[in-house]
């Protein structure tokens, strides 16, 4: 048994589990693109079970924030000033976890990760009645484009609800972002939950 545990795992295996299921138990939606499956766009209907656990939001838009197109995980998106952007994302469950996501943001800003204690000690703002950690970061931002953006800043908060999570993240040139600190917090606190999706 110990030898088996130490042996190299197989690189070719036969599927041993076969299940015969009544077609009535499998509601398969039409083919979706990856963008639709991962919630970046919503032209196809989602699986009813997973959609039913999401929440819908309303908010008050601060002055000077220009709404941008949204869809899927992006519940709201705004252009601020010349190069800053604020995105409200909804994810199922904890979206990977509070600590992991805050440290992912720090990684994007080229900063060292925070310890669990430091994350627990972050200042809180109330989003939907939940005390949610609020972060401010400055540094060189490297987003998914892979292009480093020096002298950028990030404001963010993560609100963990019983079955979903709300991520609010404002990124852009440091001077533009930090001038929006008050507006950002007011915006986060203005979020309200609407009737749940059917």
């Amino acid at each position: 048994m110990a030898l088996a545990a130490c042996s190299k795992p197989a690189d070719r295996m036969e599927i041993k589990q076969l299940r015969t299921i009544d077609a009535a138990f499998r509601q398969v939606p039409e083919a979706m693109s990856s963008s639709e499956r991962f919630g970046f766009s919503t032209s196809s209907p989602a699986s009813p079970r997973r959609q039913s656990k999401s929440v819908s939001l309303s908010w008050k838009v601060p002055e000077g924030w220009e709404p941008l197109p949204t869809g899927g995980m992006r519940a709201a998106s705004f252009r601020i000033g010349t190069g800053a952007e604020c995105v409200v994302s909804l994810l199922p469950g904890t979206g990977g976890g509070l600590e992991a996501n805050i440290n992912r943001w720090r990684h994007q800003m080229g900063l060292e990760p925070l310890s669990s204690e430091a994350i627990a000690a972050l200042p809180k703002i109330h989003v939907l009645g939940v005390a949610s950690p609020y972060v401010e970061m400055s540094g060189t931002f490297t987003g998914m484009s892979g292009t480093p953006q020096p002298d950028w800043a990030l404001l963010g908060t993560i609100c963990l609800l019983p079955e979903s999570s709300i991520f609010v993240k404002l990124t852009g040139p440091a001077d533009e972002v930090l001038s929006q600190r008050e507006a950002f917090q007011t915006f986060c606190q203005s979020l309200q939950q609407l009737e749940s999706d059917q």
């Binding site: 299940r19 299921i21 398969v28 991962f38 997973r50 929440v55 749940s196």
Partner: protein, 387 residues
């Protein structure tokens, strides 16, 4: 040799060992309970309660090896058998004690059977929905089936078979009846899908990548993902797709003029019967949104026959070793009129009745023991009075 064996038996049968084991059980349970705050319930179960030995970091600085609860309960069972059943004097005055010890051994055996052969999971249903499956809370699976087939034959790859897959060590899965091979070229225990952007060093599909994130997240909060390739056996065209635990629907793909569905989901188990949720009832405290009670009117469907039942908070449905409890419901804080779903916790325990039998045997043993003691006392008093 015989003396050594006798010495070992004396230790295993000793009440001192019983005391040490009980103290260690208390200590491991205590530190394990505290660790749940940081590690989450499932990781703590794995490390402290289902292990032979574990290392606990006191104050996150001092590593201290501790026996796991699995080992401790095994030794407690051996101690009970050696001390409470084998070595104990077998006179009538000890029969009750022997029976009580046997009852505790039955309880331990029941716990072991449940741990080894039991299953736990959840079933979520909207009203009028029917299902004969429940999802386990931790493990995942990849399932592939041909769309529009009836009935559907799902080819299922369990978590343990692809959890080690990586770009350096892809794993290919095949079946004689499946006209394509599935290769898992990467698996990420916790990740988020992101637009691929300019990144070229990670596998991408359809303009997306899976971005790994810290594994320090609690086990139950992690959302894994996998990169898979579908390779038809009689063609060279390969389809590459990303699977993610919170995806909004399965990957539906055309391969060799057939449409296939590839789903990535919590590992599912089949029930020997189906459950239809007829009605979910939620009662709120007056003028609040706080639930006072909630229950599910269900129908158990088995061999074409229907058996209505009600599952509420303290009244589970028990059938064929399965117990279905009312666990939760949602969406939370939903206003009146919202279509609600009911979540039932499903527990399968082949030794479900053993705790009951153990209690009966224990009660019989203790009643006999104390009854015998009372009888002896009364007889002595009578003898003293007579003399």
């Amino acid at each position: 040799m015989k003396k050594v064996l006798q010495a070992v038996f004396q230790v295993l049968a000793s009440s001192a060992l019983a005391c040490v084991l009980l103290i260690l059980l208390m200590a491991v349970t205590f530190v394990g309970t505290l660790e749940q705050v940081d590690l989450g319930i499932y990781e703590v179960k794995r490390r402290y309660f289902e292990s032979l030995i574990t290392v606990h970091w006191f104050f996150n600085k001092v590593p201290v090896p501790l026996p796991g609860v699995y080992l401790l309960t095994f030794l407690a069972g051996v101690n009970l058998v050696c001390g409470g059943l084998v070595r104990i004097k077998k006179g009538i005055s000890q029969w009750g004690v022997v029976v009580a010890h046997a009852a505790v051994v039955i309880l331990l055996v029941g716990g072991w059977v449940k741990h080894e052969y039991g299953e736990e999971g959840y079933m979520t249903l909207h009203e009028a929905e029917v299902s004969n499956e429940f999802e386990t809370p931790l493990d995942w699976e990849i399932a592939i089936w041909k769309k529009d087939a009836a009935p559907i034959t799902e080819y299922v790859i369990p978590h343990r078979d692809f959890a080690h897959a990586s770009q350096d060590h892809p794993v290919t899965f095949q079946h004689p009846d499946l006209p394509l091979d599935i290769q898992v070229t990467a698996f990420f225990p916790n990740c988020l899908p992101q637009p691929a952007g300019a990144q070229t060093d990670v596998p991408s599909a359809d303009g997306f990548i899976l971005q790994p994130i810290s594994e320090k997240t609690k086990l139950e909060e992690q959302i894994p993902g996998a990169v898979v390739q579908l390779q038809p056996k009689n063609a060279t065209a390969v389809n590459v797709g990303l699977l993610w635990g919170a995806q909004r629907g399965p990957w539906v793909v055309r391969s060799n003029d057939e449409t296939w569905v590839v789903d990535f989901r919590r590992q599912r188990r089949l029930l020997p019967f189906a459950i239809r949720l007829d009605k979910f009832t939620r009662e709120l405290h007056p003028r609040t949104n706080l639930p006072r009670a909630f229950s599910s009117d269900i129908t158990r469907i088995e061999n074409g026959e229907e058996f209505p039942a009600k599952i509420s908070m303290n009244e589970p449905l028990r059938h064929k070793g399965y117990t279905l409890y009312q666990a939760s419901w949602g969406p939370q804080n939903a206003p009146e009129g919202t279509r609600l779903f009911s979540t039932l916790a499903v527990s399968y325990d082949p030794a479900e009745r053993l705790p009951l039998y153990s209690c009966v045997v224990l009660t019989a043993g203790l009643v006999f023991h104390f009854g015998w003691m009372l009888y002896r006392r009364l007889r002595r008093i009578a003898e003293e009075n007579a003399s």
